[in-house]
Amino acid sequence: MTMAGCSLLRSATGDERVFGLADYESAIARWCPGCGDHSVLSSTQRLLSEEQLAPETTVFVSGIGCSSRFPHYVRTYGFHGIHGRALPIATGIKLHRPELDVFVVMGDGDCVSIGAGHWIHATRYNIDMVALLLDNNIYGLTKMQTSPTTPQGYASNTQPRGSYLPALNPLEATLGITNASFVAQTAEWIPAHLFATLREAYRHRGFSFVRILQRCPKYTAPLFEEGVKNPDVTELLIHDDGILLPGLEDVYEHQTWHDPKDMDAARRLAEEDGRVRLGVFFRDESRPRYEEMRQLPAMAAEERVDLLEKELDRYAV
């Protein structure tokens, strides 16, 4: 973080710029005080700086919801889309411009409710991008309606007697999708873990799905209280190929050595049993990536015209 705060530097050739945190700062975030999104934003900007991503070749895509304001607060290209549809937009960007670094920011309503179909298929396409599910277990922007990840029994404005059904488990679901290649979970209140997870996700070649447990101080504060205050309910999944954070051992005693290659174990660990498990559940870089398979060499306009003439010959009478 030595470059933090330094401004954009350009060498004479223009290709030796160094990007500091400030280079990724844009509008002042307007989330509520205490909202977990602030933490995700900070860690993401730190990631951009550490990985030295050029702002002009980085794109943040979002849907609609509190967390979907994210692109406005990062000084890169951005596309703040429509509810549930961030992933198709991101897919289009990567298919056309695979060299761009794409991050997708979605809320729980966005990703696992209205956009659930896209979530399944984007996982299967396995296009190289980072997909962040900022999961606060509630619809916040529209003021407290039950989301698919709201725990059973938790009251909201639409289900005042408590959510009727067991919460959907995004990790289990993602791990069940054919061709999933990277599935992780982290929590915004553990910045070191959050950052390490984002970095693993970014470095993974493929569709990196990260569920970020995220506090909503306004509507779901009680749901996260225990997790934040009591380290005993948290279990870290650690591995050489996953996340190893020596500094956290003292705080989080429950640690499980989990090889991210082991899908069966990943699925077992993803099951709900009262523990909050954080870490890389699954990673497999050998899975096919759609955008790579679809890449065809660009053709100059003159060549295209020639080829089109040949094509028209086939229809000539």
Binding site: S26, F60, H80, I82, R85, P88, G117, R294, A298
Partner: protein, 635 residues
């Protein structure tokens, strides 16, 4: 029920000479079979050979609703309908003059749709007549009785019997025998037919091509020995280089000619074949057909692609348009260029998936909640389907907006020769601009007069901004200030006025003033003009015009309309019939273009529309013209 059909088994004149052909300016022939028997291939080859000889041709597919319907049912008729002309053929015409049917049930299907002229010549496979199955024999008898109510000339042809001399499976081969018969009846160039067969079956073995040639000769020979009639539609060869294809192929080739490199779609009839064509072409041209998980995602992928580079497009039909609506609003709000092709079919809902309709016009223009100004255009011919893609891509880019191209099932499956396009590098989208953005320039630097602004593309240094569907200012900052929304709305709308200022008034077909002006849009152009020609021959004072740009509407319409006593649209969508119960001048629902024209010109525009699942026949349009001429309007 009286049996009035004449049965002919041998048609030779008494002295054994070949009959003199009946000369016709145009003639319509169709070939129908059960699905999978190859009538379509037969019709396609016949149409292509005719086009190559210099005839005007308009071919349409006859498509059953199911992929493989049960055999021998009227609804299962599958095949091709080919209208031949000495001059150019601009539409599918009226009733069929010659029909070849592989069984009497497929024939009944056509008969019951009133597809056949009263004096049509029918060539029918005869082996069902004495079939071992009693039910089939009875069905044959009943069918003949039903057909006997018309003055058809019915010729029984022992197709099965003759084909068995050459092949074992007559389901694969009878079509080439039929092709041979048709080639004799219309005196087609047999060598051209052989070449076309070899081309169509180029991926099959030589043995298969040879068998098909043998069957072709067999059909020709049988016809020569047995038929007592021939038709002559003399071709008029032209020096112009021509190509022949259907509208969906033209859209695909046009997209490539426009330099577009990404099409996102979800399978939907009758649009899907564009992606078949493109998928194959893009493999060679460099490009992607992305079959998305749904219609919504297809729109999203196209928008994401356009946002990050060259203009992309999506292809769909009515139900898919409905699903894409929210995304279209986003593209318009973020000023992301996008081309959308809507191959219209019958609606609402699933409607008539394989049949033509022009019912998406108002939804295409006004279907997006909020004020969402964008361009809607409609090619009228298969040739225009090609060029519309080049135009649409350019307009989308220049105006930073959505361009919807409305074609329809008639254009999609119609096959017609047209002058070969001469593609140019200038038609192609240039590579996306990656130059740095000058300091201080904003992503929506609207020119206050035109509303136009420069599009920033990811990769351009110092252009970083976040496109948003929320109300925003010039810097794309989210803004709820009432002044900003008012200003940005007017900027997005202004772009349409700029386009309008660049359009020419539509040309008038016929005299520039008169009693009646018929106004159409899209694929009805050819049929309307043919009806107008016939009406003028009858002494009626009728002209027509076709509108290509529907949003913004082309200029000069009011001035043109005022030179006619009456103006009437002809469209393939629904309108209430004047005089029907409860229908009054106050509540009558008009055809969709008629609504637009009434609102835009304040002229009392009448309409005549039909939604019977087929292209309009010029003869029917002529009847409507006559009725309006006599009655003097809707009264």
């Amino acid at each position: 029920m009286t049996e009035t059909a004449t049965r002919e088994t041998r048609g030779r004149t008494a002295d054994g000479a070949a009959p003199a052909p009946v000369r016709c300016d145009q003639h319509t022939v169709e070939v129908v079979s059960d699905s999978g028997e190859g009538a379509q291939k037969c019709g396609q080859i016949f149409g292509t050979v005719s086009a190559k000889m210099g005839n005007g041709v308009w071919t349409v597919e006859i498509i059953p609703a199911e992929i493989e319907p049960p055999p021998r049912i009227p609804a299962g008729a599958s095949g091709n309908r080919i209208r031949l002309g000495s001059g150019p053929v601009t539409n599918w015409g009226d009733e069929t003059n010659v029909v070849v049917a592989f069984n009497e049930q497929a024939l009944l299907g056509r008969h019951r749709l009133n597809a056949l002229a009263d004096d049509a010549t029918i060539l029918i496979e005869s082996h069902w007549k004495d079939h071992p199955d009693e039910d089939i024999r009875r069905a044959w008898k009943n069918a003949m009785a039903e057909l006997g109510t018309r003055d058809y000339r019915i010729v029984e042809v022992p197709m099965e019997e003759r084909c068995l001399e050459v092949i074992e499976d007559t389901r694969r081969g009878k079509n080439m025998f039929v092709l041979g018969m048709l080639c004799w009846i219309y005196d087609r160039d047999l060598q051209l037919a052989r070449d076309q067969i070899a081309h169509v079956f180029r991926k099959k073995s030589d043995a298969i091509v040879e068998k098909n040639h043998e069957l072709l000769d067999l059909g020709w020979g049988w016809a020569a020995d047995n038929l007592g009639f021939r038709f002559d539609v003399p071709p008029r060869p032209t020096d112009r280089e021509m190509v022949v294809m259907n509208g969906n192929q033209a859209v695909a080739l046009g997209a490539v000619a426009a330099g577009m490199e990404l099409a996102a779609m979800y399978p939907i009839t009758p649009a899907t074949s564009v992606s078949h064509q493109l998928g194959e072409m893009f493999e060679r041209f460099g490009g992607i057909v992305h079959q998305a998980e749904d219609e919504i995602a297809a729109a999203g992928v196209a928008i994401g692609a356009s946002y990050s580079g060259k203009v992309a497009f999506t292809i769909t039909s009515g139900p898919g348009m409905a699903l894409k609506t929210e995304f279209l609003g986003l593209a318009i709000m973020t000023e992301t260029p996008l081309v959308v092709v809507d191959v219209q079919r019958g609606g609402p809902s699933t409607g008539l998936p394989t049949k033509v309709e022009q019912s998406d016009l108002l939804a295409a223009i006004y279907g997006q909640p909020g004020d969402a100004p964008h361009v809607v255009m409609a090619p009228a011919t298969i040739e225009e389907c090609f060029h519309a893609m080049v135009t649409a891509r350019r307009i989308a880019e220049a105006l930073r907006t959505v361009v919807i191209v409305l074609t329809d099932a008639n254009l999609a499956t119609g096959v017609q020769p047209f002058p070969r396009p001469e593609p140019e590098v200038a038609w192609m989208a240039p590579p996306p601009d990656q130059s740095p953005i000058p300091e201080g320039e904003r992503p929506y630097e609207w020119d206050p007069r035109t509303g136009l602004s420069r599009r920033f593309v990811p990769g351009q240094p110092d252009g970083m901004y976040t496109a948003t569907g929320l109300a925003h200012d010039e810097a794309s900052r989210v803004a709820y200030d009432p002044d900003i929304h008012q200003r940005s709305s007017s900027m997005r709308s202004r772009k349409l006025a700029v386009l309008h200022s660049m359009l020419s008034p539509p040309g008038i077909y016929g005299e520039k003033e008169g009693d009646l002006l018929v106004v159409g849009w899209g694929s009805t152009k050819g049929a309307i003009e043919e009806a107008v020609d016939r009406a003028r021959e009858e002494g009626l004072s009728v002209s027509s015009l076709n509108i290509t740009f529907l949003s913004p509407l082309e200029p000069g319409l009011k001035e043109i309309f005022e030179r006619f006593d009456r103006v009437m649209t002809v469209e393939i969508n629904y309108s209430d019939e004047p005089g029907a119960p409860y229908i009054t001048r106050q509540n009558r629902r008009y055809g969709q273009l008629a609504w637009l024209l009434r609102a835009r010109t304040l002229v009392d525009v009448d309409c005549w529309t039909r939604v019977i699942g087929e292209p309009l026949r010029p003869g029917k349009i002529l009847e409507a013209i006559r009725a309006r001429a006599e009655k003097g309007g809707e009264g």
